[in-house]
Structure formats: structure tokens, C-alpha cells
Symmetry: C3
Subunit: 467 residues, 3 copies
């Protein structure tokens, strides 16, 4: 049985009629505000070459770890889905997905995908085993048209600015090409130095060698290494970057003396001698170093801590990184961030945005910290928590202590380009619903909620990320 | 003043009228589905002998640790309640309970008990000091009738299958008697080897001796010990068991080399020399061994970790185990389960169901793990969280990342036989309410919610536990 | 644009009309019950001298760390606000606050302050840059009138009893003066011995010296030290105290042998030799000692653990303690409280009230502990969690396991005297809303909710604190 696909205009708004009416009025005013995407993982090559995307499976299934991790958890092999397996027939992979679309009930992926199917592709029936081929053909055909090329989508999606994320080892050729192309879409980079900051990153020493070559600095000497960072940061800033980003297993920071830092660097850059504790301490020290550089050069600093990467060793051995096997860990912030905050937390020149995968820290640690330190802001609900219930918990647990203005609006943080408007839309609806409840409970006036709805949808992100 | 006792037909459904109407429609379709009870602690002797239950206090007060722990917390002595004190007059014990029934306001015990009083016993006034004797007499008289004998209740309650939990040292005579009786009620066992797996269990070495005698294996030698487990598991399976269960202080698993495992076993089985760390490591290793056996014999594996048993030493010394003094502890899963998952987590032959008493792990750890590993499923909200708010938090925190289909439906996990339908009913109502909110917020369609309501009430449990 | 300031009669009640109607009926019956304030930080000198308060900034801005921490987090210097800076013009400080009043949207401070402005001072426009001076003048003028002197406010506010908090080193002269004045307001003290119990407290050894002088005991000898506590506790009790209070970094307790305790005391009281671990263990031991004294003298014992004090070293160096830089930490209770509970937890003479800043412990640890141990009760949602959402989470996460009667009603715990009625009012509204939901969901009857609303508003606090 084929069922119609429609997007309800009130989806995600609260069920109570009075509250919904308020939410609807708030949402109406922000629904079509431009998209500010200050942090994410789209590929700049798309916008540089403006080449058409491939087929449905390649665009919507293969890169979306939310989707294939769920299928994998229910016994579908990654091979059959075409992950790391070019032999797989993409139409067959799509069928595996389509016939299990019920698995996504109650998940944000379902809402994002339905929006892509309906609003982006104009599909009018639901995805299922029966409609799988119809979907595959329709989407694949659409992708061959000019309307679905990256720049056209960027414009259609009303994206004011989007940030990608690159390593210091990236030459930013695509960003250069975008600038030189004359196209006016604003695509900027962000500085993510994990491959040259984390001694446990694959190929760390090779990466230092490459960094030396790129910068003309000796990146096996502490001062040369720091100078190389400064150079690459300046280069990234010249290519539009307004921020850095740091993905660490924990939020630990350190403030070693120069001599201690240099000795530690010598150890970790030499390779063999360093212990996991040395690696952790070095990452910790580098966060404080990076904060110091941000004070100098004005780049906003982001920390994304707390993911246990590649938890599944068999999967990692066969399919590599980013295959849905990263698992959040308990993450503390109070003692961990203290060295950095003690050094720079009162400095108005620093803007430090901290994220978490550990919701227990929202009310207990992060909101109290952000509600005190001038330098500290809270990133929005992240990754597994970028979801209706996750965003509600964020607002409910953060707002009373940190207020709204120590937050930074929404991040889509995605490589799933097609769904970016859907993700911002979910956030705007949930925020409007939260604000509407405050109004309905007479805790806030409607004009204030309207101001806040626009702030949360756009203005806070522009301000926090200096866009 | 005597007050009428009624069970409101809409109890536990959401207050918002539109949402309630949806919930009511969903609930109507699942309210009378049969009860699948894949994990619990009823006594197989009840069904073997079909002897009548005793008096009200003996049936409803003495075995229910939720009830007497609350009374104890408010200054009522266990002696006076007849716990471990055969001298106590059960009618007087019941009066102590009845006159303090207000203490249970807002607790699930209150809802379960009111259902038992009203639906099972047909009482029409509320329990209070005034009605205490009326209750005592009415219940005690009813229990003497055939309609309240265990098998009659089993049938009246529409129980399709119920699992009890036994130690490997149990000869399963009651399960044999049930089978031989010709009665058609399906009562199965489950393999809970804690007394011979946990070196800190009372009488561990004696238990190993008994296990040796029962199996003809040398359970003080590593290979003999493992062989004994295999034999007992096979025997339990022959008596209907489809699952094992493991109650450990933590969820730690280990994957030692055979030599290391053998050496560790030698140490813990020798008694004196083993440290608490050895005991913990041995339990950890045994979870992985048990997972390996499950891969071989197909028994579903359950882990119930995280309870600090017998927290109150005075109480333990005077009244023994299971007297309401077990307290949940912070419990991690990411690093802890990794050895087992690295070894067997991708194996489709393993079905591992993990529970928690630490709700902080739902969204942070358990849902991401279950939403990735094929072998892993999440048990429902457990023990103190088997409650309306607890079940809501479970759905809200788990579903967006793990979906519904990486869960296993409901467990009543109780020895309070009389209240089993009430417990399933609470779960069904809460699930229908949760689904109704998703429908009311236009996040799911009503036909999908209806499918899920039946899945959550019955089908997922049957499938996950291979019933 | 100037906007009217009004307090909506239904503020904070649930939005659903049926639930709100129930909540409104419940609230109506408790709204004007007297205020029981069993724990807080008002200054007894106010009531002793009955001197008028100063200007608006001095009364409402300088002492309120919720307010100035938020302003500080958004870049306003404490100097400019007049914190630790007598040079600052209070009118200018007030303007800084007024022009940033939007920062408090969604916070409890906003609700408390609006109540103070409207209900206490009769202001009819909202606070903003435009109305700043009008506010400053109006409030400052009102404070000069008799109606705003401390005793008049105490009476107008219908405070039945208020407890302040003093160190053993305090001579309680203000409490004496209050008693001798003939004024009938009931202002009592509470015994907070942190300065002589915590070896890491500033001036610990000096404090011991002072305590020796005050008591005639040798407070550098273990028995003398304990005797001094007994004497001061008795003196505090004679001045009305019914409770003690203990603010520790963790909830750790210990139960050392007398010899071990004495040796530890010798070490920490000697100063230099003691490690942080010694200090922690000594605080732990002292909680158990204090519990033992409470068994003797009947003083109710409170523990307020889990705050990382003075997290911001620069701020501490420049402005001192209590400047909004205290940050909650992860706090465990299961293993930590066990030594004390094993010793005294079954003793009906002890009444121990435990608080937390770590909400993860509500459902996992504190509710199960309080739902078992006769001596243990749970304090209400504290500090950053003393807020609408925080109180809701407390009720939702605690009630099902601990019930309502293992709680102690509400504490305002504030030095912001003007807002005390607002704080109690918020708690009563939230509790009525929570109870109304239980009624609307047919989990409780309305007459039970009405009984509970009064218990939570007044009776539980009076009983738990022996007032």
C-alpha cells in the first residue's frame, strides 16, 4: 500500500492548542530567515566545481552515518549498502534502506529525510519497499538537472553563509576556486588542527612533516610548531575562516610552563616514547595554546569533546573512520576547563564555544560556567542530541542558569547538504515551541519570545561566530 | 471517612484532550493483548503445586520490597511488618501498611496496588486505617478460593508465557512438575549463574562444589567449570529457557587470553588469595565467556548491572538480602562493554540485552551503542525506573538515537505476581501516551503509532527473547 | 518604549486548560499560607537593628550573585557594578543592570525580580534602560520609609519563622538582640561549622584558636575540639537553632576508629603536614561525628555538598568569595554516605537532610536512599536548580521512588530578603502544577493533591526542621 507523503505545517509544534497557536505565530516570523551555518562538514569541492551529485544512494545513504548505523544495528551489512564497496548496486542498496524505513520512526533522520524527499525533491508518496525504485529513479534523475547542482541548492536554500571544516594540511584549493569563480555564495573554512595536535591521530608525525613543508617552519621544534599554527591560522583567516574547531576525547585543558610544554612536545613528537597520558596532556596543553592564539588573532574557538572514536575495532579495520561507531562518553568540564579558563576565561578577546555529548553537564556544569565566564559560550545540542527531544532538554536544562544569550544559536554540523534546511527548520520549530511554552505559562511576554526566536534562528550565530 | 476506589479508564494518558484521544485509540487496541513476561522472579513452585496463596500480608506486603522499604523509610520496623518475624500478627502488619497508604502517593506501587485491590479483588473502597480490616478479610478470604490459585490467575491474566529466574544449582524440579502436570500454562526458566560466577557471592566455593556434583565436572578447573556451564545451560534450555541473566555490580567485560583467564579462575576459585579487583575482573571475563556460549547455544543474554547490594549493613545482618537496601550506582557502558562487543558485537547469532539503573547512560551511551551494534538491544526502564515518569524518560532519551526496534518491549521483572497485569498495563498506557504525543506533534502517523503500540506491548518481547 | 509590568495570576501554572484549572484550585488554597524558611542566609543584623536598607543597587544588585554573575558573563565588569568597589555610582551600576535586563529572560531571577518590583515596590512599568532611573529613585525612596524596614517586611511577608546561618565563631549577638527587643518575629540561627571543620578553610587554625577561646576547651586536642562543638551546638540550640548545616566539596563520610580520628585531627590541626586527602577525610569523619552529636542533641543535620568554590582564580584574588564563580561538580552519594548511614542511618533520633547540585543523583541515588533509610530526607532542588524547570525535574525524578514524605518541602536558601515570598511562591506554583498533572492524568485524586500542596508548602518543612 502506497501512502501519501506530506509535511504537516504544524509538525513539531506543541500539541496544546493555545501553546501551539503562540508557537505558530513565532515560527511564522522566523521560518524563512536565511540560514547561518557556522559549523559543518560539507565538502567545499561541491561549491568549487558545482558538479552534479550522483545517484540517490551516493548522495543520501553512503555519507549519512545516522542512516547506515541504524541499518547496521538491525543486521544490514555495510557491504550491501555500498559502504566501502563500489561493487554494490546502488539501486539495491537503496532498496535495503527503503524496505526498512520504519526503523527510523521517532528519529530525527526520519524528519530530515522526509523533508528532503518532499520539499527538495517533490516526492508525494512515502518511502517503502514498494516505492523504492520510484524514489531511486526520481531522485537520481533530479540530481542530473541544473536545479540540483550544489550552487543552485545553496541559493535555493537561502544560505547566507556556510562554514566547512579543514585540517591545517589542507591547501584550501577549493575555497580558492570558489572565490576566484565569481560566484557570490559565501563558503568559508574553519581551522581544525586535530591531525597535527593529537599525537594519537593516524600519521601524526607524517602530518608534522607535511606541516613543516607547508609552512617552512620546523614543526618538530616547539617554537617552530607554534609558529606554523600561527601561519596556517592566518592563512585560514585570509580564506574567510572566523573559527577554529577541536575534536578531543575529553575537555581536559592544561597550562604548563613553557619549559614543561616544550619537553612534552619533544616527547610526543618523537613518537615512541609518549604514553596515552602524555598524548592527553599534550592535547590539553594545545587547547590552552590555541586559546592564546585566538586572543591574538580573534578566531572563535570551538571544542567538541567526549566522543570515543572507532569503538568497534572490526568495523574500523574493515571500513575505517566515521562509520557510525563513535560513542559518547561521560565528560567533565569543571576541573577540565579550569586551566584554560583561569588563564583566558576573563579575557573579552576570547570567544570559546563548548559543546557536549554528555547532557548531564548541561545544568550541572556548562550552564553555570557559561553563566559566569565572559569568554565562554555554549554550543547547541550536538550530534545525537541534535533532535527534537535533545534540543528541548538543552533549552530546559541550560536556560535558567545561562540564559539565552550565553548560547550561540544553531549549528547543523552536517555533511548531509540536502538536509540542511530541514535541520535548521527542526531547530526553529523546537525553539519556537519552547518559547511558546514560556509564554503560555506566563513566564515571558510574546514580544520577548519573538525577539528571541529571531536571535536563536540567526542573530546569535552571526554574532558568536563573527559572521 | 471511607472513599470509593475506582480505576479511571484514562489513567496515565496525557492530559491534553487531543493527545489523549489519540492515546486512548492506541491503547484500546493493545489493552487486551496477551502478557509476554520474558523476565521476572515469580516462584515456579506456585504453578507447580497450584497451592492457594496465604493471607493479605503474606502475599502483598512481605515479598514486595517497594512497599516495605517505603514503610521502613518512614520509621516502621520490619519486625512489625512481619519481615523475618513470624511472630508478627499479619492483620496488625497490614494495619501498619493501611494506615500509611498515603506515603505511596505519586509512586508506581500505589497504581499497581490499587489495580490489584480493584481489578483483581473487586474492592470498592480505598485502603486506609479505617478499611484495613475489611481489606485484610476480603483479600484473605478470596485467596482461599479456587479463582485465586496461581494457575487460575495465570489464565485469568491472559499470560502467554512467563519466565522465572533460577540459579544453575537449581534442579528445576518445579518446572519439571509443571510440564508433567499436563497444565498448559507456559512457564519457563532463565539461567542466572551469579552464585557460581561471582566470587563475592555468599558461599561461592560451596556453590562450585555443588555444581561439580551436579554436572560431574571438576568446577575448580577452568575447563571443567566452563563445561559445567555448558551442561547446565543445555539443561535449562531443555526446560524452556531462552535466556540467561547476569546481575553484576558493574557492566565491566573483559576478553583475557585463555591462559590469563585460567590463571584468574584458579585465583578466585581458591578463595583466600583473590582481591576485589580479581573478583571484578573475573565477573567481567565471565560475561564474555557467557556471550560466547550464547553464540553457540542461542540463549539470549541479559545483563542487569549497577546495583550496590545490601547497602545497609545492620539491616543485612538482621534480615538478609533483598530487603529494599539495594541502591543504584553510576554505571558506565562505553569502555566497560567494549571487550565483549569487540569480540561478539558484530555477530548476528548473539542477542545481548542490557539494562541500566543509571538513566544518564540512556542517551549518552546505551542508545548510541544499541543504534550501532547488531548484537545489542536495550532492556526497558528497570526497577526504580519501571514507573510512569521513568518509562517516559526512557522513551524520550532512547528513541531518537536507537529507534524503537533496538528495544525489547516491556519486562515486569517482578515477584509480585498479583500485580503483573497492572505493570504491563502501566507500560502500555505510557507507551501509547508517548506515541500519541509524537502523533499529536505530527512527528509520526497514527497507523505507524498503532503498529508500534502492538510491537511495544507484545511483538518486540517475543522476538527479542525468541518466545 | 515603556512596557507595563504585571504579574499574571496564572504564571507558572501548566498551559493545558484542564490541568491549569486543577492547579489554580490547588494554588488558591496554599498561596497565602505563612512562609516557613528553615534554611537561608539573611543577615540577623537586619532584624536586630531594623535599620532601613540602602539604595536599589545595594539591596538588589550587590548581594545577588545570580544577578551579577549573569552580567559578568556578558562582559560587564564587577567594578562597574559596584562589587568590591565603593567608588562606583550606584545609579550608574543600576543602569548597567537595567539596560541588560533582557539577559535574564527565561531565568528564575527574572521572575523573582519582577515580583519584587511589582508586588513589593508597586512598580508598574518594566525595567529597561529607559526606566532605570525611575526604578532607582522609586526603590531608593521606598527603602527610606518604615514600611520597608526589615521587621515590617518580615511581617508583611507573613514569615512564621526564618533561619539564618552562622559559624560557631559567631557570638550570635544579633540573635540575642532580636530576642531582647521584644519584637515577636521568629528569627533563629543554624550551626554551620565549616570554618572550624574544613582544614582548607581560610584561617582554619586561627579559627580553632578562637573556638578554644570562646569555649574554654583546647581545640587542638581531639576531645577538646569535640567538646567545643558540643558546647557551641548547645548554645546555638539555646538561641533557637534546630539544625546544623555542612557545606562540603563532596558528600564523603567516614567512620574511623577513635584512635584514627584523633591521629587525623592531630595532623590537620597541625597545619603544614596535612594533604588534600587528609582534609577530605577529616571533613568526611566530621560529618559522622556531627551526626552522632545530632543523635544526642536532636539538631537536624543538613549536608550541602558538591560545589567547586572559587573556580575563577583571578576573580577570587580581586573580589573574594561568593562572587558567582562557584560551580557544581559531579557528586556521588552511594558509597560516600555509607559510613555515616551504616552507623546512624537506622537511628530514628537522627534526621539528616541531604541536598545536591548534581541532578543525576536524584533518581539514581538520592531517591532510593531516602526511600529506604529512616534517618535520611531529601532537601529540595537547590541553588541553580531552585527554578521552575529545576523543581519540576526534582519532583519528576524523586517522587516515584521516595514519595513526597521523604522530602522536606521548600527552602529559599537566600540572602535576597526582598524576594523570599517570590521564591516560595514559585515553588508553590510549580508544586501545584506538578500535582495537577498527576490529577489530570488520573494518578492521584484531587483531595490528596490538596493535602500534599499544603504539606509541600508548609507542613513538611515545619516537621522536618522541628519548627
Amino acid at each position: 500500500m502506497t501512502r501519501p507523503l506530506t509535511l504537516h505545517p504544524d509538525r513539531l509544534l506543541p500539541a496544546d492548542p493555545d501553546t501551539r497557536a503562540i508557537a505558530r505565530a513565532l515560527y511564522r516570523e522566523v521560518a524563512s530567515l536565511p540560514i547561518i551555518s557556522p559549523h559543518g562538514h560539507t565538502d567545499p569541492e561541491w561549491f568549487a566545481t558545482d558538479a552534479p551529485f550522483g545517484n540517490a544512494a551516493e548522495l543520501l545513504l553512503h555519507p549519512d552515518h545516522y542512516v547506515f548505523r541504524m541499518l547496521y544495528s538491525q543486521g544490514v551489512s555495510l557491504d550491501a549498502l555500498g559502504i566501502g564497496n563500489p561493487e554494490a548496486d546502488p539501486r539495491e542498496s537503496w532498496r535495503l534502506f527503503a524496505s526498512r524505513y520504519h526503523l527510523f520512526r521517532g528519529t530525527p533522520s526520519r524528519m530530515w529525510l522526509d523533508w528532503v524527499f518532499s520539499a527538495a525533491f517533490g516526492l508525494e508518496v512515502q518511502l517503502s519497499a514498494e516505492t523504492s525504485d520510484r524514489y531511486y529513479d526520481h531522485i537520481t534523475a533530479a540530481l542530473a538537472t541544473d536545479a540540483f547542482r550544489p550552487r543552485a541548492l545553496f541559493e535555493r536554500y537561502n544560505i547566507e553563509v556556510i562554514a566547512t571544516t579543514e585540517s591545517p594540511l589542507d591547501d584550501l584549493r577549493h575555497h580558492k576556486a570558489i572565490r576566484q569563480s565569481g560566484w557570490r555564495g559565501r563558503v568559508i573554512t574553519a581551522y581544525r588542527p586535530d591531525p597535527v595536535v593529537d599525537p594519537e591521530f593516524e600519521g601524526f608525525r607524517d602530518n608534522l612533516r607535511t606541516l613543516s613543508d607547508m609552512t617552512g617552519e620546523d614543526c618538530f621544534a616547539w617554537q617552530g610548531y607554534l609558529a606554523a599554527h600561527r601561519k596556517r591560522r592566518a592563512f585560514f583567516a585570509s580564506m574567510g575562516a572566523t573559527s577554529t574547531d577541536h575534536g578531543h576525547p575529553s575537555s581536559l585543558t592544561a597550562d604548563l610552563s613553557p619549559g614543561e610544554a616544550e619537553a612534552l612536545f619533544r616527547k610526543v613528537s618523537a613518537g615512541d616514547a609518549a604514553t596515552p597520558g602524555d598524548a592527553e596532556l599534550f592535547r590539553a596543553q594545545m587547547l590552552t595554546e590555541m586559546a592564546g592564539m585566538s586572543v591574538e588573532d580573534g578566531l572563535v574557538m570551538q571544542i567538541h569533546p567526549g566522543s570515543f572514536r572507532n569503538h568497534n575495532p572490526w568495523l574500523f579495520a574493515h571500513y575505517g573512520r566515521d562509520k557510525g561507531a563513535d560513542i559518547p562518553m561521560r565528560t567533565g568540564y569543571v576541573k577540565e576547563l579550569r586551566p584554560l579558563l583561569a588563564r583566558y576565561g576573563n579575557d573579552p578577546r576570547l570567544s570559546l564555544i563548548v559543546f557536549t555529548l554528555d547532557e548531564t553537564s548541561y545544568a550541572r556544569e556548562l550552564a553555570p560556567l557559561a553563566g559566569h565566564y565572559p569568554a565562554l559560550k555554549l554550543g547547541p545540542a550536538w550530534w545525537f542530541h541534535d533532535s527534537p527531544e535533545g534540543m528541548r532538554r538543552f533549552r530546559e536544562q541550560v536556560t535558567e542558569t545561562a540564559g539565552f544569550y550565553n548560547g550561540v544559536g544553531f549549528n547543523d554540523d552536517t555533511r548531509a547538504f540536502l538536509s540542511i534546511p530541514a535541520r535548521h527548520d527542526v531547530a526553529r520549530r523546537i525553539d519556537c515551541g519552547f518559547l511558546a511554552r514560556l509564554v503560555a505559562e506566563n513566564r515571558m511576554e510574546e514580544w520577548e519570545a519573538a525577539e528571541l526566536a529571531a536571535d536563536l534562528s540567526c542573530h546569535l550565530a552571526k554574532k558568536a561566530y563573527k559572521l
